[in-house]
């Protein structure tokens, strides 16, 4: 089914039926007066409605950041919640302008689906959840452990690979759905439960005593999540890419939601370039030169987005880890704005 849809999309695209790709996406978005953002239908920390129904989350804030860059108004976003099955079709058909829905960047997706990633806004990876009572501090202590896992996913494969590579013994208990696996772990059927770390953080909250459980520091697979766009519109790709880099640069330069106006008056040549008082960096993206000021005013810098949605002070309590800036021991690295 998936392949059939992908084939149909590619065929349609090659006949020029996919009109969204041929016209400039930025011009389309400006003409519509709103950004149409393919969003998550409900994943803790990345895209969920709060009590009032307002969308919140790391991916949601990226949609708002792009809207703020284009319209100087973070509310000009239409969120189209997409299931994992129809998300790429929706992007390729022009139903959405950009897809920011914790989608893993893989080679096959980029080479066969007609889409292209603009960056990695969250380095995710498979981890382990264990009960504190076990006294386990690291995955290397899991020798001989019983591990609950969802059946038939890459999670199961990664687990086998990891234990084979480290030469440790383990026993696996598989379940049809992740809910069952979580429940089984909670009732003490297994010593550990494994899935992606962002998922573990959310599943931990479903435990009868969340504070009794910890996520181990090891990451045993690569799940780079990020925003993606259609292939064939480099201007739009650049824009989304630089919104992401802009958020990183803002954090690196210490520009926050609170001090952005003050920083914009600075004489520092780096700040002048970044915040648009010098040079025409915004214009070259098809935006105003104060693009990054608009973004940071609306959603803050990358660090603020992270802290607000998934960071240590949220219920998810995720550490920055790989998502820290490159000069703080993480992987988030932006090319310079100059």
């Amino acid at each position: 089914m998936k392949k059939l849809i992908a084939a149909a999309v590619v065929a349609a695209a090659s006949f020029g039926l996919v009109t969204g790709a041929s016209a400039g996406t930025l011009d389309n978005v400006k003409a519509k007066g709103q950004l149409v953002c393919g969003a998550n239908p409900g994943t803790a920390g990345f895209g969920v409605p709060d009590e009032k129904g307002n969308w919140t989350g790391l991916d949601v804030d990226y949609c708002r950041a792009i809207a703020a860059a284009i319209f100087n108004d973070p509310t000009k976003v239409k969120f189209v919640p997409l299931s994992s099955k129809d998300r790429f079709t929706a992007l390729a058909s022009g139903e959405v302008d950009v897809l920011i829905r914790n989608s893993t960047w893989t080679m096959s997706r980029e080479t066969t689906l007609g889409v292209i990633w603009a960056g990695i806004n969250f380095y995710d990876g498979q981890g382990f959840l264990v009960n504190k009572k076990l006294g386990v501090k690291s995955a290397t202590d899991l020798d001989g452990a019983t591990i609950c896992v969802q059946q038939g996913t890459t999670t199961e494969l990664n687990l086998a690979d990891y234990f084979r590579a480290t030469g440790k013994k383990y026993q696996v208990v598989t379940f049809g759905t992740s809910e069952e696996a979580v429940k089984a772990y909670d009732t003490g059927r297994c010593d550990a439960y494994t899935t992606d770390r962002s998922g573990l953080a959310a599943d931990r909250l479903s435990m009868s005593k969340p504070d009794d459980h910890i996520i181990l520091p090891e990451i045993i697979s690569k799940e780079p999540l990020g925003p993606l766009v259609r292939q064939g519109d480099d201007q739009w790709l650049n824009l989304v890419k630089w919104v992401h880099y802009g958020l990183l640069v803002a954090e690196e330069d210490g520009i926050t939601k609170a001090n952005v106006d003050e920083k914009a008056k600075s004489d520092d040549p780096e700040l002048k370039r970044v915040l648009g008082t010098d040079g025409k960096f915004g214009e070259s993206l098809g935006l105003s030169n104060a693009w990054l000021v608009q973004i940071v005013k609306a959603v803050g810098n990358y660090g603020e987005i992270f802290e607000r949605n998934v960071g240590p002070n949220t219920p998810l309590q995720l550490a920055r880890a790989s998502n820290a800036l490159w000069n703080k021991g993480g992987l988030q690295y932006a090319p310079p704005i100059r």
């Binding site: 009109t19 409900g42 969920v48 919640p81 479903s206």
Partner: protein, 382 residues
């Protein structure tokens, strides 16, 4: 002149009181006759009572005796933090009430949704209540005026001072009601036309109806929704893309119409040939015959089927979640994944509430159809 007392067959003295006859009525007798009449019956009764006695106290305690009525996050419902057992976290429903019933509809404009709900209730009561006056005015209101007013109310019209609210702000129960109302209102007339077309003598009309009905019945609703929302945009140019909710409404309308057509066809086939011939003998044309003689009888026969379709449609509206439209159930699920509200026992209260809401509507429809059947049965009573 004869005194009555002198007659031999008239009793002259009051007979003494006797023991009352063995009980023939009362709760004990009813129980003996209905619950303990045989060994099997007795065993079944005891097993059933045992199950009820086992489940019910816990359920009542969970739902009514130890729940948390007001909460601002899952912490307020945590048995660990509160240091006492906690039942259903109704505070979740309380905190999310606006979202569940209006979606992201702007808070200042929600009176429009309330007015829409009220008008719909008025229209339904008007046409369904047997004794309500001005029946035909009610029908015109519900099928002609209400769709227009409802559309203007919900999506707005800046000229008359109602700001535009795009459909992606609609959500929750509002979307469930809009989809099922459109499905129900559209399916009956289209279904009747399709059913007549399928039994028509005109080959083109018959062919079109058959293709339409069989195609729709041959694919699942999810496929129709997926086609409408994901594939359809591939085939039309940018400016020609109707709103995604509208596409789903059209899909649901046609889908329910096809099923309705088959229900109505069942009724048409049940009408004896003599009725058609009698109508023709009176000189009635096709439409007169259908509207005055055949359809009233045919529809009466298939009321249970029609209502069955409506109930099915009401529940099928949850499928629109597949194409990213947030109906009532989907808003509940999405709210459950909010990290501030995530906890092991939160889904229990949330899904109980969802079941309660769906049950009220479906049971209401079922009861109404039963009373309707009884009322219309007069003609067929033999």
């Amino acid at each position: 002149m004869t005194d009555a007392t002198s007659l031999s067959f008239v009793r002259s003295a009051v007979i003494p009181e006797q023991r009352p006859p063995h009980r023939v009525s009362g709760p004990l007798v009813w129980m003996r006759e209905n619950l303990f009449s045989s060994l099997l019956n007795t065993v079944l009764t005891i097993v059933f009572l045992g199950v009820v006695g086992w489940v019910l106290p816990g359920f009542i305690r969970f739902v009514l005796l130890t729940p948390v009525w007001v909460a601002s996050s899952s912490k307020d419902c945590s048995a660990d933090l509160l240091q006492h057992p906690v039942g259903a976290c109704w505070g979740f429903i309380d905190a999310h009430f606006g979202y569940l019933f209006y979606g992201q509809y702007p808070a200042g404009e929600r009176w429009r949704v309330n007015l829409f709900y009220a008008l719909e209730a008025l229209g339904i009561v008007w046409i369904l209540l047997p004794k309500a006056p001005f029946k035909s005015a009610g029908l015109a209101f519900f099928f002609l005026l209400f769709p227009v007013i409802g559309f203007v109310l919900l999506s707005g019209m800046p000229i008359i001072g109602l700001s535009t609210v795009q459909t992606h702000y609609w959500g929750g129960f509002l979307v469930t009601i809009v989809i099922s109302t459109v499905g129900i209102v559209a399916s009956l007339p289209i279904g009747v036309v399709l059913a007549l077309g399928r039994r028509s003598a005109m080959p083109i009309a018959r062919l079109v109806s058959v293709i339409m009905i069989e195609f729709v019945r041959g694919v699942p609703l999810i496929t129709v929704l997926f086609m409408a929302n994901v594939m359809f945009p591939l085939f039309v140019p940018d400016g020609w893309r109707p709103d995604s909710l509208l596409r789903v409404l059209v899909g649901v309308g046609f889908f329910s119409a096809a099923y309705m057509a088959e229900a109505v066809r069942g009724g048409l086939q049940a009408i004896p040939r003599g009725q058609y011939e009698a109508a023709q003998a009176l000189g009635l044309g096709y439409w007169q015959m259908m509207i005055k003689i055949i359809l009233p009888q045919a529809l009466k026969i298939v009321i249970p089927n029609i209502v069955n379709n409506f109930i099915g449609l009401f529940k099928d509206t949850t499928l629109v979640a597949i194409v990213g439209i947030f109906d009532f159930l989907r808003t509940i699920q999405a709210s459950l994944s909010d990290p501030n509200w995530r906890s092991g026992q939160m889904p229990l209260a949330a899904y109980l509430f969802a079941a309660f809401v769906y049950f009220i509507f479906c049971y209401g429809m079922a009861r109404y159809s039963l009373s309707m059947e009884r009322r219309l049965q007069t003609g067929n009573r033999h």
